[in-house]
Amino acid sequence: MKVAFYPGCVARGGCPELYPAAVKVGERLGIELDELTGAACTGAGVLQEKDLRLGDALNARTFAMAEQKGLPIMTICSTCQGVMSQANKRLKDDPAYLAEINELLKEEGLQYRGTTVIKHLLWIMVEDIGVANVKKQFTRSLKDLRVAPFYGCYIVRPSWALGFEEHPERQHSLEDLIEAVGATAVEYEGKTRCCGLPILMINEKNAVAMVAKHTSTAQGLGANAMVTPCPLCHLNLDGYQPKAAKQSGIAIHMPILHLPQLIGLAMGFSPKEMGLQRHIVSTKEVEEAVAGRAPVGAGRP
């Protein structure tokens, strides 16, 4: 399948390991990536608190670009996905509003008709490619890993903007992929809660307390890694984990993987190719679990 690829800012900013990992995994899955290089930031919910219309206009511009190409948008960030899904719903539900926003795009020669579909790589793997087909690309089983899923708020709420009714499988998409790589999915309450990043620079103590709560709970339940489809969650859960351990007084050690990294490791890519060395929290246990399973490079096409 071919997609209009929207990597988002953080995949090449604060989490530079995500972009190459996602591209490698996407290519291996046979997804042809047509990157939307002219698309702007979604606003990440922050721009929206200054002015909702600004965010909607920037996103309508991106949707129009994909519409021109006749392609669905593929995201690799829960926040991008959620912010875009919400904007798309507002634009599609209200033709008068859509017309008003289109006025802002006119000068650039763009017009959004309301037909663009926006899908996270997570959903594309589960719904379009299918877990069984994704599994065909795997060369190692990561069965020593007990992985706690961490969805990120924007890819689960509000459910009515994210197509959960038509796609009930989205509720357990991460667990499905964790099981597919041969690992065990760890069930805990925090999997759909907030990582705290949006208030990191506003109330750091609370933001870091959220990191401590979710990583320590997962650790207590025997998880030895956490996986997230959201680089913003990764920034906080990984980057601020040392602070979370200090603040909470709990010895937390929870390697945080980006979703494409987990999939890529099962595909036979090396930890280095997936950029694990760039994480703040050491991923040694994950690398050991990988090293114990099939030689690196085995089964490469």
Binding site: C15, K50, L58, L104, C153, C194, I199, M201, E204, Y240
Partner: protein, 319 residues
């Protein structure tokens, strides 16, 4: 249909009281709500099961509880819509102290609502007849006025989980109801009051409250709308306002985010109060740099950024 209700219970009068779980399996009709099933248990199986309810029609707001881990009204949630492998998990509402079984103490909830001064504060001389307001200005408030004070939003608020001082979704939605009311004369005073610690900038935008509210009040959307109003009213001196403004300014000029400049600008470059936070961010930055994780020092800029800037100019010009 057979269902097993897995109920989180607590009896304060038992010796050494601690929460425990108890299961009840019963036959229910397709139209049964979770509350119907709980009442059936109380009437036929265990009269000591404590559950609070009154109207049974999503109006009184008494029966908010956690159903399969998420807040909702027992009387509005059909068993058939939540049953999974023959089971439904029921717990008392979160973020509030449990009195007994599914009954929680609503005092913290009401304390927060009272703290926002939830009554109209008009200014100027009293009109001869009544306060008049244009219909258009009131219509959009109907959604907020629909709040039945059930506490579902408070139960699942992710900030309250880590900080009980946060005013929380219900109280802030109520606050918005007066901030946006054209008859209220205390708007600026209110915005200044809600602008402080534990106020509107402490919401983490997780949307739990939007998701679980049984009446469509969308508290978080009201909080975001108040942030917009606070900035517009000239209240720029918070990390939250600086963060939003810096974020917008960076996207306006680059078309994309530039995390390196966002951090100091959110703290306020010449803000002595935040010097500690700014200095504390330095080791985090150094650690990121050592791992090759630091965002690009020369920011990525969109080649078509003039088109983005034009959209900003048009929208901001109209404001």
């Amino acid at each position: 249909m057979k269902v097993t209700l897995d109920i989180g219970r607590f009896n304060p009068e038992s010796p050494g009281p601690r929460p425990y779980r108890q299961e009840f399996t019963l036959e229910v009709e397709n139209y049964f709500t979770v509350l119907d099933a709980l009442i059936r248990i109380r009437e036929y199986e265990d009269p000591t099961l404590a559950v609070r309810c009154s109207c049974r029609a999503s109006i009184c707001g008494s029966c908010a509880m956690r159903i399969n881990g998420h807040a909702g009204l027992g009387c509005k949630t059909k068993i058939i819509s939540v049953i999974k492998d023959g089971r439904v998990r029921v717990d008392p509402a979160g973020n509030l102290p449990t009195v007994k079984d599914l009954v929680v103490d609503m005092k913290p909830f009401w304390d927060k609502v009272r703290a926002v001064e939830p009554y109209l504060q008009p200014e100027g001389p009293e009109p001869v007849d009544e306060y008049l307001a244009p219909e258009a200005a009131m219509l959009h408030l109907v959604g907020v006025m629909g709040c039945i004070m059930c506490g579902a939003c408070l139960s699942d608020c992710t900030v309250l989980e880590v900080d009980e001082r946060f005013l929380g979704p219900a109280a802030l939605a109520k606050a918005y109801r007066f901030v946006a009311d054209p008859r209220d004369g205390a708007t600026l005073k209110r915005l200044k009051q809600y602008n402080g610690e534990g106020g509107l900038w402490d919401c983490t935008r997780c949307m739990e409250c939007v998701q679980v509210c049984p009446k469509g009040v969308a508290p978080m959307d009201r909080i975001i709308a108040m942030r917009d109003r606070a900035i517009t009213a000239g209240l720029h001196g918070t990390n939250g306002a600086r963060h939003a403004e810096a974020f917008a300014d960076i996207v306006k000029h680059n078309g994309r985010l530039d995390e390196i400049r966002l951090v100091p600008r959110s703290y306020g470059i010449f803000n002595v109060m935040n010097l500690g936070a700014m200095l504390a961010a330095i080791p985090v930055g150094i650690r990121a740099w050592r791992h090759g994780k630091l965002p690009p020092v020369i920011p990525h800029k969109l080649s078509e950024r003039q088109n983005v800037r034009r959209i900003f100019d048009k929208v901001e010009g109209r404001k």
